[in-house]
């Protein structure tokens, strides 16, 4: 006998935003699929279930032409599967491969981090969201896209406006207007840059899309560049802050990482497991199916809560703890299956090999100004939103 989907109706939306992990734990222990009324979604929260779902894209589809994401940014690879998805993914990949990151992007990413840190180094204190992580993430992304002359504030505004528009389920007209403005801003920037990249083939994403076989249409380029802006800025920004936070809160672990720089990669993987920048993404069922014994109907949408899976105590012991030295196991912070994060290798290099090591090297005796002032927020997207620090200038 299959079980019906259980319902949780006594959780307030604000609880999810403030700290989703207690809710995730409750839902994970209640059943494999649980409808959480406050979020209006059926959550899948266990590690093994999500892994199995991501190996079956024919049943658990990303295709959803009516989604807000498609309305806001146009038909894009996040909402496609199979060959349609693969063709657009392959058009971006040449800019994002790990070797390309190392050969083509590492030097400019290092220069960006150096410049951003130089601007605050003498002050002895800063708020790291606004003064460090956001500008580094936005400028690195602009570089990789091939967007010359777009400042980081504009990139950040576009990114946030597109994200807000894609989650605008209450159809707030102001949010919709800002998203439209961001979309047209991105399209104008693409139009302005395309001739340059057509005439000068280079490793940037715009250039890769132009060189792709089959060639990408301008509509595909518009839409997937918007995906890269909406989905390629906040994750890097948030994981920079999360890794710094985890190490500042755990000086013993920091001492070991500092003494053995090959541990930076491991520290980064733990940071994105601990507070995953993307906590949930949707899949739509193409047939009636049981998920670990719970029946879900064709046409329904489930939210794969990778943030919850990364705290699944069936897989990770003491999951709430930041522990660089925990037993090594793969996590789901980059998702799984064919939609596995395209920017994974960029973020690994930028955050764990360049930005965060440079922060600790240049800002001596870095510490939280007041642990009480640190704010971490969100559940679909989660990360530190306010992180004042001091150091010996």
């Amino acid at each position: 006998m299959s079980e019906a989907v259980k319902v949780v109706d006594d959780v307030a939306f604000e609880e999810l935003l403030a700290n989703p992990y207690p809710v995730f734990k409750r839902v994970r222990d209640l059943g494999p699929v649980v409808k959480v009324e406050a979020a209006n979604i059926m959550m899948v929260t266990r590690f093994d279930d999500i892994m199995a779902i991501e190996r079956d894209p024919e049943t658990f589809s990303s295709i959803n032409p009516q989604s807000l994401l498609n309305t806001v940014i146009g038909p894009n690879l996040m909402r496609k599967d199979g060959d349609d998805h693969a063709r657009e993914r392959v058009a971006m990949d040449p800019s994002l491969r790990p070797g390309v990151v190392k050969r083509c992007w590492a030097d400019s990413m290092r220069a960006i981090c150096d410049d951003v840190i130089s601007q605050i180094e003498h002050k002895g204190e800063a708020e790291l969201f606004e003064e460090l992580a956001a500008p580094i993430a936005a400028r690195a992304l602009a570089d990789i896209l091939g967007f010359d002359g777009v400042d980081w504030q504009t990139m950040a505004l576009w990114s946030q406006s597109l994200i807000d528009g894609s989650g605008n389920y209450s159809h707030n007209p102001e949010i919709a207007r800002k998203a439209r403005e961001a979309a047209s801003g991105v399209e104008s920037a693409v139009d302005r840059m395309l001739p340059h990249h057509r005439d000068n083939p280079n490793p940037s994403m715009l250039s890769s899309m132009l060189q792709a076989d089959p060639a990408q249409t301008v509509e595909q380029i518009y839409a997937n560049i918007k995906v890269a802006i909406g989905g390629g800025l906040n994750e890097t920004r948030d994981s920079i802050l999360t890794l710094i936070l985890g190490l500042l809160q755990n000086p013993d672990q920091f001492a070991r990482v500092r003494a053995e720089p090959s541990l930076w990669g491991q520290a980064f993987e733990e940071a994105v497991r601990w507070i995953s920048p993307i906590g949930m993404y949707p899949r739509r069922l193409t047939r009636d199916v049981e998920i670990s014994g719970t029946l879900v109907r064709k046409g329904e949408q489930v939210g794969l809560c990778v943030g919850a899976a990364n705290h699944d105590d069936r897989r990770f012991s003491d999951p709430e703890k930041f522990d660089v030295f925990r037993e090594k196991k793969s996590h789901l912070a980059f998702g799984a299956g064919s939609h596995f994060c395209a920017g994974t290798w960029v973020s690994r290099a930028l955050v764990s090999q360049i930005a965060v090591p440079m922060v600790f090297e240049r800002l001596h005796n870095l510490r939280l100004k007041d642990p009480e002032l640190v704010r971490v927020r969100g559940w679909v997207f989660r990360g530190p939103t306010h992180m004042p620090v001091v150091w010996d200038a």
């Binding site: 491969r97 790990p98 799984a336």
Partner: protein, 105 residues
């Protein structure tokens, strides 16, 4: 049906019947061979299905794509001359009875 001999990092051998046309990664997952994580499920994006093949088979399999070649340099275990992403290698009679080693991560 060809037999594939997966050799896990701890030295255990998993001799499995494989279906032509499936990938080595799919064959390994279906037979719970340890060490093949395959996070991206065959998209050559994660480099977590790294295996080492006998060198004589490498020639028979033909050239490695630029994308896979790049990924292999960043797999967790160091690259060897017989390294491949198992999701990019299709089972065929030519692979019958070969030894496929899963390197220690």
């Amino acid at each position: 049906m060809p037999t594939i001999r997966f050799l896990s990092a701890d030295g255990t051998e998993f001799a499995v019947e494989a279906q032509n046309g499936r990938t080595l990664m799919e064959t390994a997952l279906e037979n719970s061979v340890p060490g093949i994580i395959a996070e991206c499920n065959g998209s050559a994006a994660c480099a977590t299905c790294h295996v080492v093949l006998p060198e004589e088979i490498m020639l028979a399999l033909g050239p490695i794509s630029e994308h896979e070649n790049d990924m292999l340099d960043f797999a967790e275990a160091p690259r060897e001359s017989g390294s491949r992403l198992s999701c990019q290698v299709k089972v065929s009679d030519a692979l019958d009875n070969i030894s496929v080693r899963v390197p220690a991560a």
